[in-house]
């Protein structure tokens, strides 16, 4: 016997009555609390990048591709945002900046967002998201990991390894890069020295800055060749019916060069 008749819920009532994400009791699993939360449609003008995030470069072509998909299907995955501590009417995007840009390109005025209530949890999520990105410079990875350790004081390096699925040596190595003097880090980032071999050498040297400067202005015969001129990057050949690839040279490429290679290969095939 249906003695209760249900009526549609008005938006005002929904906002008043919907329970907040349960960040209080489930500190251990940030992601599950994010999944439990409902999402709200927020104006795109109210969203800004996370204040604690490094700058990001977005590939225009990729963005356009995402924008087209959004035009068709909408934003499938809600963004994760948090109220800005400085400005109450603005939200910072913890995860989903790419989606926002693509949505803007697609002409959307609102996007679905999950609103976190705990700023500390937001920082953590942002850091972990950061680390999942490809093409991050080892120093950036190190910075992110180091910050994660500082933000979450009760998290050991071992726990981070487990959480992110990384090897212990990897994590400690990255953190060591983060502990290089600032000038060294800046130089390394500026010249995009991503070779871990070289970076390790920098760690050992007592005057790493000198080492870098020397290598740049010195002749290629020097012990630390950072920029060599001609060498093989990629060899592809057909041997006995199967395709063989020699790609050792790719490691030595800078990020820009890698992207160049990618687009060249794309156009070739």
């Amino acid at each position: 016997m249906a003695k209760v008749k249900y009526k549609e819920i008005s938006e005002k009532l929904e906002k008043l009555a919907a329970p907040a994400p349960d960040s209080l009791t489930q500190r251990g699993s940030i992601y599950s609390s994010v999944n439990m939360a409902e999402y709200y449609n927020i104006d795109v003008d109210k969203l800004i990048p996370f204040s604690k995030q490094a700058r990001r470069i977005f590939d225009e072509q990729e963005l356009q591709g995402l924008a087209d998909s959004i035009k068709q299907h909408g934003v499938r995955q809600p963004l994760t945002i948090i109220k800005s501590p400085n400005n109450n009417s603005i939200y910072e995007i913890v995860s989903g900046e790419r989606r926002l840009r693509a949505a803007r390109l697609a002409g959307l005025t609102q996007v679905p967002c999950i609103i976190l209530s705990d700023y500390e949890a937001a920082e953590e999520i942002a850091l972990i998201e950061n680390l999942q990105r490809k093409d991050l410079h080892p120093v950036e990875i190190g910075n992110a990991l180091k910050e994660l350790l500082t933000v979450r004081k009760n998290l050991t390096q071992q726990e981070i390894c487990k959480k992110l699925g990384l090897r212990k040596q990897y994590v400690s190595e990255m953190v060591q890069y983060a502990e290089l003097p600032k000038e060294v880090k800046d130089e390394v980032l500026k010249h995009n020295i991503t070779s871990r071999d070289i970076l390790r050498k920098l760690l050992k040297s007592p005057v790493p800055l000198e080492v870098i400067k020397q290598s740049y202005h010195a002749d290629p015969q020097k012990e630390l060749p950072i920029k060599t001129s001609n060498r093989s990057i990629l060899r592809v050949f057909l041997k006995e019916g199967s395709i063989k690839v020699q790609a050792n040279g790719i490691k030595l490429l800078s990020r820009q060069e890698k992207e160049e290679l990618k687009s060249i290969l794309d156009s070739v095939i």
Partner: protein, 346 residues
């Protein structure tokens, strides 16, 4: 129970005895066929109150209890013995529902203790106390270190009451000064778990030390809410606060059951509120259920009469109260297999 001269005059008790319970009502509470009750009455030789030609023959309370007790789920198999009707929003119907639940549980054969923790003392009034009198209350038990036995009064068969009056307002600042201030109620009343099948609190609408004490002591919190917009918002705040409290106290959250009250089918807000409850709080609510607004429930507390003693045979109020009680009892039954397994371990 003390022979308290303060209320040697108890016209109240007389009222209960004058009204009995019909077989039909008994069968509803016992969840059996009326014919089963009929056979039991005949076999047991129970005499009705009124030997007249009245179609609705009623039986006295002691007999009613004996009869229904045969069908009620056994008290030993219950997980939640201590219930607290809690909501910091006033006027939702806590006391009324508390009164109905406590009295009907007693009618079903259980030994019930109703504790009035509200200085307004409406439950005590409903149960027959003259609240202007200076009888001892929970205050005297916790601060005055009086034994609960000296304060508890039997109000009718199966139902005892630890009453309240305005003096209870003095309890709050006193508790604050005491050591282990969230545990005073538990410490004072823990032993009563042995004496009663159910201990039911009626709380006052605040977030106070006393109420936190009661929550600490309780196994189950029936939260009565009105089917109204602000009431549901209040529920959200209440649950968040409760979670925070339990977390800080390292307490396991008591079981919660949200009881929507004063539901009116024709109003849009009632339907909206129910939809909201279903959407966000379905783990706490009884599916598709609300206590409907009815004149009978309102007169019940005014007359100090449990519904079973006077309601019409098709009473929706009685039906709703019965459904709540049965739902909670069923929910709280310990799984017999696991209970047996536990016993083996001991």
């Amino acid at each position: 129970m003390s022979d308290n001269p303060l209320f040697s005059e108890r016209p109240f008790l007389k009222t209960f005895s004058a009204n009995g319970v019909t077989q039909k009502i008994m069968s509803e509470l016992a969840r059996v066929n009326p014919s089963t009750i009929n056979k039991l009455v005949a076999a047991g030789g129970y005499k009705p109150l009124d030997e007249g030609v009245n179609k609705n023959i009623r039986y006295n309370l002691e007999d009613t209890r004996r009869i229904i007790a045969k069908f009620s789920p056994p008290a030993e198999s219950m997980r939640s013995k201590v219930w607290a009707f809690y909501n910091f929003k006033g006027g939702v119907g806590k006391t009324t529902i508390c009164f109905e639940v406590a009295t009907h549980l007693a009618l079903m054969g259980y030994r019930v203790l109703a504790i009035d923790a509200d200085p307004q003392a409406h439950l005590s009034t409903a149960l027959g106390f003259d609240t202007g009198q200076n009888y001892p209350t929970l205050y005297d038990v916790i601060v005055g270190e009086l034994s609960p036995n000296d304060v508890i009064e039997n109000v009718y068969p199966g139902l005892d009451c630890l009453p309240s009056n305005l003096s209870l307002t003095r309890l709050e600042p006193e508790i604050d000064k005491m050591p282990r201030r969230e545990e005073r109620v538990s410490i004072a009343l823990e032993y009563l778990r042995e004496k009663y099948d159910f201990i039911i609190f009626d709380c006052n609408p605040t977030i106070s030390h006393l109420n936190m004490n009661i929550i600490n002591f309780s196994d189950l919190l029936p939260i009565v809410v009105e089917t109204q917009i602000f009431a549901i918002n209040g529920l959200k705040l209440l649950l968040a606060d409760l979670q925070r409290f339990c977390k800080r106290m390292l307490l396991e959250m008591p079981r919660i059951i949200v009881v929507p009250n004063k539901y009116e089918e024709r109003t849009a807000s009632s339907g909206e509120a129910m939809a909201l409850l279903r959407k966000y709080y379905s783990q706490y609510t009884i599916p598709d259920f609300a206590i409907r607004k009815s004149a009978e429930i309102e007169s019940s507390t005014k007359l100090s009469l449990p519904l079973a003693l006077f309601c019409r045979s098709n009473s929706i109020a009685f039906e709703d109260i019965k459904e709540v009680i049965h739902y909670i009892l069923d929910q709280n039954l310990v799984d017999p297999k696991s209970a047996a397994a536990d016993l083996k371990k001991i």
